[in-house]
């Protein structure tokens, strides 16, 4: 299964940084992340199932989209976008 690495508030809410999850795309993986961690519900995906606008998902270090395919050994990171002002 793929490994999802969380930081900051998401790590705290999920009770840990590393999560082994199944899913064939980024969206499926994030759905699995939220359904297996009730405290995360609505934090990464909105009610439509869309990734929140200022969240970046990286797969093996490369910025991904909702449809990016996920392989068995992939490493996924979920990060807030850079903000300023």
């Amino acid at each position: 299964m793929a490994v999802v690495r969380l930081r900051g508030q998401l790590e705290k809410l999920a009770g840990g940084a590393q999560h082994q999850l199944a899913g064939s795309t980024v969206t499926e993986l994030l759905q699995e992340l939220e359904s297996s961690n009730a405290a995360l519900e609505g934090w990464v995906l909105d009610e439509r199932g869309v990734i929140r606008p200022h969240i970046n998902v990286f797969v093996n270090g490369e910025q991904a989209t909702a449809e990016t395919p996920i392989g068995e050994d992939d490493k996924i990171e979920i990060l807030p976008a850079i903000s300023g002002g």
């Binding site: 609505g42 934090w43 990464v44 009610e47 199932g49 929140r52 200022h54 807030p80 903000s83």
Partner: protein, 359 residues
């Protein structure tokens, strides 16, 4: 003034919650901060339980309602504050949270034009389906601030009756605790619409709405160009703007002891700033027949303030009525004599989005 007379303000800013406390005749001091760096749209303390509520919309994680039973207690996230899953819309923001008329009940309003109800002191919330699925919803229009249920007015002593203000979908009334809703817009003239469209318009931009405690059928409204009074519980409205320097503004506050009272802060139609660089609060004590300006203690030159719709609130009543309003410039002003004189409560805060008296 007695040393015991102290007031606590919850100030929602674009950079977090600021809790201020002080005697209501001098600058307040900072008592606590929370949600540092997060946009806090609204904060209130439920007077029945002392529980604190915050609505914050993280740029990253979306809108949430948080609650805590003390300022130093852990903030917990309320659940159920979301639209139905799998639909084509997402919750954008919670604008307001108010206590209901039955024990444990609270209401929250937000964007896109939604009402939530909690019956367990704010821990869990449920979307009001009748409003969400109202057949007229496709005709509702967003204004520059969104499509917002920004004001929720319970009826003292009657949990079945509620009034909502929605920008820009007008006034909505229920007599069956939210099972059904009807509009209450008769008499409102939206001069931003073509004349032919005004009679049937639904996209009415109500900015502020308040109900008189001692006479609940009496309501006052600050409209997007107009100030109105209703004497029939919001079914119809009478123009009372004559005598004000501008009929544009956002918040309205009442003296709970006097159903003929209302306070507004006029701003210009063009730029939504205090007219001619003067800050004045205008008061009526005859239900809008006449208006009196109050500026003693407020900046009277070179002051171009923007005061948002949830940034004006009161405490107490009668001659000792305290009033507080804040500007997006980070200044807060207060009065402890029902608006006759004013003092600076705070300055140089981040842009203020709401001010509520907590106690």
């Amino acid at each position: 003034m007695s040393d015991e007379r102290r007031t606590e303000l919850l100030v929602g800013t674009r950079k977090g919650l600021f809790v201020l406390e002080g005697r209501p005749d001098a600058r307040f001091s900072l008592k606590a901060r929370a949600f540092e760096g997060e946009p806090v749209e609204y904060a209130m303390r439920d007077p029945r339980t002392g529980r604190l509520f915050v609505s914050a919309t993280s740029a990253f994680w979306g809108p949430k309602i948080w609650y805590a039973d003390a300022l130093k207690a852990e903030w917990r996230q309320a659940t159920g504050v979301a639209l139905p899953k799998g639909g084509d819309q997402a919750l954008k923001r919670i604008w307001v949270i108010v206590p209901g008329e039955t024990d444990g009940t609270l209401y929250a309003g937000g964007d896109p034009g939604v009402l939530f109800e909690s019956r367990d002191r704010g821990a869990t919330w449920e979307l009001n389906r009748a409003l969400w699925e109202h057949p007229s919803r496709p005709a509702w229009r967003r204004d520059s601030g969104g499509l917002s249920v920004h004001t929720i007015l319970p009826w003292p002593g009657d949990p079945d009756r509620l009034a909502l203000a929605i920008s820009a979908a007008g006034v909505w009334l229920t007599d069956d605790r939210g099972k059904s809703w009807r509009q209450g817009n008769a008499g409102i003239v939206a001069d931003y619409l073509p004349e032919e469209a005004r009679a049937t318009a639904i996209n009415l931009c109500v900015h502020g709405l308040e109900r008189a405690r001692e006479r609940p059928e009496r309501m006052f409204m600050q409209f997007h160009g107009g100030v109105y009074r209703s004497d029939d519980a919001g079914e119809s409205w009478i123009d009372i703007a004559d005598g004000l320097p501008s009929d544009f503004g956002f918040p309205v506050v009442l003296d709970p002891a006097d159903p003929d009272s209302a306070y507004v802060i006029p701003v210009t139609t063009e730029d939504r700033l205090t007219p001619e660089g003067r800050v004045q609060v205008w008061e009526t004590r005859d239900a809008g027949v006449s208006w009196t300006a109050h500026g003693d203690g407020l900046p009277q030159r070179d002051a171009w303030l923007s005061i948002l719709r949830k940034s004006f609130h009161g405490k107490g009543e009668g001659p000792d009525l305290e009033l507080y309003f804040a500007a997006t410039s980070g200044e807060i002003f207060g009065s402890s004599d029902a608006g006759k004189t004013w003092f600076a409560v705070a300055s140089r805060l981040p842009s203020v989005q709401s001010v509520r008296v907590a106690r």
